[in-house]
């Protein structure tokens, strides 16, 4: 999937993946896509909840070898 910015939050626990996502999205333009990698399994539900509550779109969530990759499109 194409993306405009990438952030690796591997090794970080709740709530850091969410806080880093918020920060990464801050200087992006509407419609741009952020790729975020996390190893915290709690991030799966948290990223969806973040998307639901902020209006940003979680395009996809992939899991491979204990790492999760999220694609978030900015509102």
């Amino acid at each position: 999937m194409n993306f405009d910015k990438e952030f690796d939050a591997s090794g970080l626990s709740c709530p850091l993946p969410i806080l880093k996502t918020k920060k990464a999205l801050a200087d992006m333009a509407s419609g741009q896509v952020l790729k975020l990698i996390a190893t915290d399994c709690g991030a799966v539900k948290d990223m969806q909840a973040f998307a639901d509550q902020t209006g940003n779109s979680l395009l996809s969530t992939e899991e491979a070898n204990g790492a999760y990759t999220f694609y978030m499109k900015k509102k």
Partner: protein, 156 residues
């Protein structure tokens, strides 16, 4: 949609109880909430420039997981609190949990409002210069002015 609001009363000053207010406040701010934390009694310790006095004690805390079972008589020995705090901080770091300073900084960047209880400062004769900048000093009525309009209000 109107901005959602959350108010938290932070009344505890130990390491374990310091985390929930800062985690919830920073997360809520990231979700677009307007957040205020009212620090009262021991919670005021969380606003000190130097957070090294924020510690955890295994004493009278039977729920705290210990590497080896530890009798209360041992827990009360001098230095046990420092040791438990050091071990807890190492554990937090190993698991990628943010430090208190880091979470507090995120809260400030996200414009979470910190209100410190004036009565507590007077009661314990604290020196205001020992606290971080950007703190507002106020009382219960000031907090209620905001708390009354919130969607989420927590006592921690």
């Amino acid at each position: 949609m109107a901005t959602k609001k959350m108010a938290i009363i932070a009344s505890k000053g130990t390491l374990d109880m310091a985390y929930p207010p800062f985690i919830l406040a920073s997360t809520a701010a990231a979700l677009g909430y307007e957040v205020q934390i009212f620090f009262t009694f021991y919670g005021l310790q969380l606003l000190r420039k130097d957070l090294s006095s924020v510690m955890i004690s295994p004493l009278a805390n039977p729920a705290m997981p210990m590497p080896v079972p530890m009798p209360v008589m041992v827990q009360m020995l001098p230095g046990m609190e420092s040791m438990a705090t050091m071990m807890m901080k190492q554990k937090l770091k190993k698991h990628g949990v943010a430090s208190l300073q880091e979470l507090r900084e995120v809260c400030k960047e996200a414009e979470v409002k910190f209100i410190a209880c004036q009565m507590t400062v007077d009661l314990f004769e604290f020196d205001k210069s020992e606290f971080i900048d950007g703190v507002e000093w106020g009382g219960a009525a000031m907090f209620m002015g905001f708390a009354g309009e919130t969607d989420v209000c927590l006592f921690i």
